[in-house]
């Protein structure tokens, strides 16, 4: 099977779906002749024309809201927002309108809208271009939240998202696009991956690490190193936060009886707490209290010295794993 980058996978999903369904349009800033800020949309404007691949003014509220209106009236818009941080100026459209119109109207319409955006730090891009924020959207009813971590998952989940009749937000870690080591096998033909199906990225027996986006790769690296120390780590990637595959997570923790959650979003009131709550609510017996590795309550700073200090990474995950496998920590 051919190896493709994360950006190749997203591009291929968009292209193949647009070929299949003429009602799919792309809306976003610099997605046409500028070919996308991270080079994802590339030549789609040439292939499908500038009516279907629409550059916009810097008016996020209007074009995200317009995607909603177009969806009610028979189109299937896929919106690209350069950075998730920009959603702030369009929040009303997202959480009050696109997320709720179907429900408020008693189910009179559907919302086949996909909002793609980029997340994550590690580039020194500071407080307005480095956040993750998906837990905010996972909190609100009416939004499906997808977070792929590999090129294979990205293509299958994006095609699923485009074909879904509900409003989906799709979060792409910006360090993934051109990351050569991440290139993976991606089938040429279209395929879908169902929502609500976690993927066990590595099997293990001593501890479960539930990880999202970039933390999947940091956890896998940690697991590899710890294997040499005799610690067997299972890495579970939920792939979609809404719906969340609680079963797979719970079954893994039932086996390992130890849990670490690694996520790049802010630590409090977010994904890490939610996943631990799901496990605890199911009464899964844990040998030691669970641990979470996430970004502290600090805006993302620019200086690499400062950014490295706060972002979760392989070493922090390793430390948390060692803590929970230590017999002295047992309850």
């Amino acid at each position: 099977m051919p190896k493709k980058s994360f950006a190749d996978a997203i591009y291929e999903a968009l292209k193949q779906e647009m070929e299949r369904d003429p009602s799919i349009i792309l809306i976003g800033e610099d997605i046409g002749r500028a070919e996308g800020i991270f080079g994802v949309t590339r030549d789609l404007w040439k292939i499908f024309g500038e009516e279907r691949v629409r550059d916009t003014p810097i008016s996020e509220a209007a074009f995200i809201g317009a995607a909603g209106g177009a969806a009610i009236c028979g189109l299937r818009p896929v919106v690209e927002l350069m950075f998730c941080d920009f959603f702030g100026v369009a929040m009303d459209q997202i959480y009050n309108q696109l997320a709720k119109i179907r429900y408020m109207s008693g189910g009179q319409c559907r919302f086949p809208v996909v909002l793609r955006t980029t997340i994550g730090g590690g580039l020194g891009a500071s407080a307005h271009h480095s956040q993750v924020l998906y837990s905010i959207f996972a909190h609100v009813p009416g939004i499906k939240v997808v977070v792929p971590s590999t090129p294979y998952d990205a293509k299958g989940l994006l095609i699923k998202a485009i074909r879904d009749d509900d409003f989906v937000m799709f979060f792409e870690h910006k360090t993934f696009y051109a990351f050569a080591q991440l290139a993976g096998e991606v089938p040429d033909e279209p395929y879908t991956i169902p929502f609500g199906k976690a993927d066990v990225k590595r099997e293990g027996k001593d501890v479960t690490v539930v990880a999202t986006a970039n933390m999947v790769h940091e956890s896998l690296k940690a697991a590899e190193e710890l294997e040499k120390e005799g610690i067997s780590v299972e890495v579970v990637d939920p792939r979609t936060l809404v719906p969340l595959d609680t079963e797979t997570i719970v079954n893994s923790v039932k086996k390992t009886k130890r849990l670490v959650v690694a996520d790049e979003d802010y630590i409090y009131f977010g994904v890490t707490g939610e996943i631990i709550a799901r496990v605890v609510e199911r009464g899964v017996p844990l040998k030691v209290p669970p641990r979470r590795v996430a970004t502290p309550r600090v805006p993302i700073p620019c200086s690499p010295a400062l950014e490295n200090e706060i972002l979760p990474n392989k070493d922090k995950i390793k430390k948390a794993i060692k803590d929970v496998v230590s017999p002295s920590k047992e309850i």
Partner: protein, 333 residues
């Protein structure tokens, strides 16, 4: 005279629609005060000519986006008042199965793409509906209803600009009732309050390179003529327009509003501009329609309202389990 150019049937429809809105709202007021309506209710009394004149100029397939003061928009677009009373009472027979209530009452099959409780919240949807119509070459136009309150929201301006640069068939219909909730909107001599510096918002079109007019929103014929002209530009040339309708809200922002921000004189002046007696008088004086015909319409509507309220009262509440339906498919609630 302009009125003579309009078919009698349409004039009668306008009168009937305005009276139906008025009586619906008077009944809604009574039901709210009697404790039969949950939530907040924002009455359209005094503004009937705007929705009526506008819808008289639209085709059935055209879209509108409505707002928290939306009962009048729905009635004028052809809403069934039985399902409307049921909705505002929170009954399962309501347009939105009781999930929307007064502020979100809408019927998508009539082209009402939602009623938005956030001021300015529907602008994006209205622009997007026009985009879909344009790309699918359907010839439908989209009318975005927003008040003088919505006009000062950022998205209203983003929307006007986006519709202009994308050449979309949109009409930004500003229903200027003089108040942004509890604050006077446009400057009056001796009153320091204002939410904007200019009175005539038709002028704003120039800022976006699109036509705009300011008209008397209490005259259904003036609204009809202005909207009709705008629909032609929208449908044939893909040119959006601003139609600024000066109207007047006779009641508070919501039922129960103590209206501390306005005085008796202001309310009296507003009632003097009441569009319904004025239109009735003009119809009779024009000789097109006899007074008895109009009185008969009044009586028919009174009866229709009573029947609709009876239907709504007798309708069951939704099954509580309905609360979990229509969120996102396949997602735990």
């Amino acid at each position: 005279m302009v009125m003579k150019k309009i078919p009698k049937e349409k004039l009668l429809w306008m009168y009937r629609t305005m009276v139906k809105i008025r009586k619906f709202e008077e009944k809604a007021d009574e039901l709210f005060l009697g404790g039969e309506l949950p939530g907040f209710v924002h009455l359209y009394i005094g503004q009937e000519a705007t929705a009526t004149g506008c819808m008289a100029a639209l085709e059935p397939g055209d879209y509108i986006t409505s707002n928290h003061r939306g009962h009048g928009h729905l009635i004028a677009k052809g809403g069934d008042i039985k399902k409307m009373f049921a909705e505002i009472m929170g009954k399962e027979t309501g347009y939105c199965k009781g999930k929307g209530g007064s502020m979100h009452i809408a019927n998508f099959s009539l082209g009402i793409l939602g009623a938005f409780g956030i001021v300015g919240g529907g602008v994006g949807v209205g622009v997007g509906a026009a985009l879909a119509s344009k790309l699918k070459k359907e010839g439908r136009i989209s009318v975005i209803f927003g008040g003088d309150g919505a006009f000062v929201q950022g998205i209203f301006h983003e929307g006007m600009n986006l519709a202009a640069v994308w050449n979309l068939p949109v009409i930004f219909l500003i229903e200027d009732n003089g108040f942004s909730e509890g604050t006077v909107s446009w400057p009056k001599p001796g009153d320091p309050r204002k939410t904007r510096n200019i009175k005539n918002l038709g002028e704003i079109g120039r800022a976006y390179g699109i036509p705009g007019v300011t008209i008397d929103g209490n005259d259904p014929i003036a609204v009809y003529e202005a909207v009709r002209e705008a629909t032609q530009r929208a449908r044939l040339e893909g040119v959006p327009s601003v139609v600024h309708c000066l109207t007047c809200r006779q009641r508070g922002h919501y039922v129960g509003d103590p209206e501390l921000y306005r005085n008796e004189k202001d309310i009296e002046e507003c009632i003097k501009r009441d569009p319904i007696p004025r239109f009735r008088k003009a119809l009779v004086e024009s000789g097109i329609i006899k007074e008895q015909e109009l009185t008969k319409i009044d009586e028919e509507i009174t009866k229709e309202i009573e029947e609709a309220v009876k239907f709504a009262r007798e309708s069951p509440s939704p099954d509580p389990k309905e609360a979990y339906i229509d969120v996102s498919d396949g997602v735990e609630v």
